[in-house]
């Protein structure tokens, strides 16, 4: 790729690093020199990713964290800072979706989606933000939302609400923390091919969806590297509170 980014000396914490986006973000940040705290619920997956990053000469530490549990969040941040040093970059990535029409959504569905996608990121950013403020060295927080934050999709009401909430959360935190040189931005990706959705997007129904996009294509995980690295670096010093769409024009 034409870009290069030097994150030597930075410590990044990535949530939902056991699969998909989070796993990819952890690899990308580590490959640019950051030390990465990789968090998620499945310890075995974290161990595998840690070994993989270390095998490539990077530095990583797997820490089990459940973003539905505030105590688990605070503990993980504690462990990360004790073991790796002060967190400079937070990638609030963990998220779930439950595809169901509004009439069929249960209260449990609603709570699971909103707690994982919105409350968890809020508590985590709050915990990391407090520490960044106390140290006075600033920091970068990247919240991973979705194009569903600003466009409705059938069956994804709670998901869309949680991601719209995340955009508002980002702007509020950016406002309150601007004076502490903490930059907080939201990435809103479109459909990107991952292990989890690859089968669907190669099915007849999935291909129909892909062909309905203006560019007739899904994103690739590598397509997110540039903006991720920019927002994690000092080169985005004057970007805060921004909502960045990266969707290949899919919602147009």
């Amino acid at each position: 790729m034409s870009i290069s980014c030097n994150l030597d000396g930075k410590v990044a914490l990535v949530t939902g690093a056991t699969s998909g986006f989070g796993q990819h973000f952890a690899r990308t940040l580590a490959a640019s020199g950051a030390t990465v705290a990789i968090t998620g619920r499945r310890g075995d997956r974290l161990d595998e990713l840690q070994a993989e990053i270390e095998g490539k000469g990077g530095r990583a530490l797997g820490i089990v964290m459940d973003v539905m549990d505030p105590a688990s969040i605070r503990n993980a941040v504690d462990v990360a800072e004790t073991e790796l040093g002060a967190i400079n970059v937070l990638v609030n990535n963990a998220g779930i979706s439950r595809e169901r029409l509004i009439v069929d959504v249960t209260e449990e569905d609603y709570d699971a989606v909103l707690d994982t996608n919105l409350k968890g990121p809020y508590i985590l950013a709050q915990e990391v933000g407090r520490r960044m403020i106390e140290r006075g060295e600033g920091g970068n927080i990247i919240n991973i939302a979705s194009m569903m934050a600003y466009r409705p999709y059938r069956g994804l009401s709670a998901y869309g609400m949680s991601k719209a909430g995340m955009v508002a959360m980002t702007r509020c935190m950016a406002l309150e923390w601007a004076r502490y040189n903490i930059n907080i931005n939201t990435l809103c990706p479109g459909y990107v091919e991952t292990d989890m959705n690859s089968e669907y997007f190669h099915s007849e129904k999935g291909l129909k969806v892909v062909n309905s996009f203006p560019g007739k294509a899904l994103g690739k995980l590598d397509d997110l590297n540039g903006i991720l690295l920019l927002l994690a670096s000092d080169s985005a010093e004057f970007m805060t509170g921004s909502t960045i769409e990266i969707d290949g024009g899919q919602p147009l």
Partner: protein, 254 residues
């Protein structure tokens, strides 16, 4: 900068390159390897810029272009492509501003702002797209320079705000129409940045009061846009970004 981008082999046409943002964008793209077609009306200033780029080891040509005149835009692209080869990156930057309350604006004020900032951007993008579509198979990158004024009301700059909102609308439509050709069209929306155009006001006591109302109580220079500019100009690092509005305002609109 910790984030950089290799633009070797790219040819970038920058409009409004004789001053302010445009001049800075041309220098930044050139420093990262792109050959520059520096387009604008002021021949002397363009020649100076070209000399500066060449003295730093870069490659550039001056291109006389009035973005409000379709014939001048067409001829400018022709010169750029003859001299440097196919244009792969366009920074649609030329813009003008004026200050007047809506009640006091003349039709001439309105026409001057909208003709340059909206119609000019349209004409340049249209010409760029024609060339890029005809060639096919090569990524094209069009970066329209809008502003946070596209989203936020401000006194005395109604026509400027309207023109920039028009640019964001055009950006989305171009992204939609040209997605099949691999042409990505995005809008860069800077906040208030210190340039020749803004310094007269922001150096006054009133201007300094305005700066104090922003979350960070500071004003940056055009280099604060470098990272996003390079990302959007890159042939491979922003492949999945099109139709996006990217705000770089240090939190001014929060």
């Amino acid at each position: 900068m910790s984030f950089t981008c290799d633009l070797s082999g790219e040819v970038a046409l920058v409009t409004g390159a004789s001053s302010g943002f445009g001049r800075h964008f041309a220098l930044t793209l050139a420093a990262n390897g792109a050959a520059i077609a520096a387009a604008g009306r002021s021949r002397d200033r363009l020649s100076e810029l070209v000399q500066e780029i060449e003295s730093q080891g870069g490659r550039a040509v001056p291109v006389a272009m009035d973005v409000t005149d379709p014939e001048s835009v067409r001829a400018g692209f022709e010169v750029a492509e003859i001299e440097l080869g196919p244009v792969s990156v366009v920074v649609n930057n030329a813009g003008v501003a004026t200050v007047h309350m809506v009640a006091d604006a003349t039709e001439a004020d309105y026409d001057r702002i909208l003709d340059t900032n909206a119609k000019g951007v349209f004409l340049v993008a249209q010409e760029a797209g024609k060339h890029m579509i005809k060639r096919g198979h090569k990524s094209g990158r069009i970066i329209n320079v809008a502003s946070i004024s596209a989203f936020k009301a401000a006194r005395q700059v109604s026509t400027y705000c309207m023109s920039k909102a028009a640019v964001t609308s055009l950006t989305r439509t171009l992204a939609l129409e040209w997605a099949p050709y691999g042409i990505n069209v995005n809008a860069l929306c800077p906040g208030v940045i210190m340039t020749e155009m803004t310094q007269a006001f922001y150096n006054t006591p009133h201007g300094k009061d305005v700066i104090k109302r922003w979350p960070r109580q500071r004003i940056s220079d055009p280099s604060s846009l470098d990272g996003v500019l390079l990302l959007l100009a890159s042939p491979d690092a922003s492949s999945f970004m099109t139709g996006s509005m990217i705000v770089v305002d240090d939190g001014q609109t929060l």
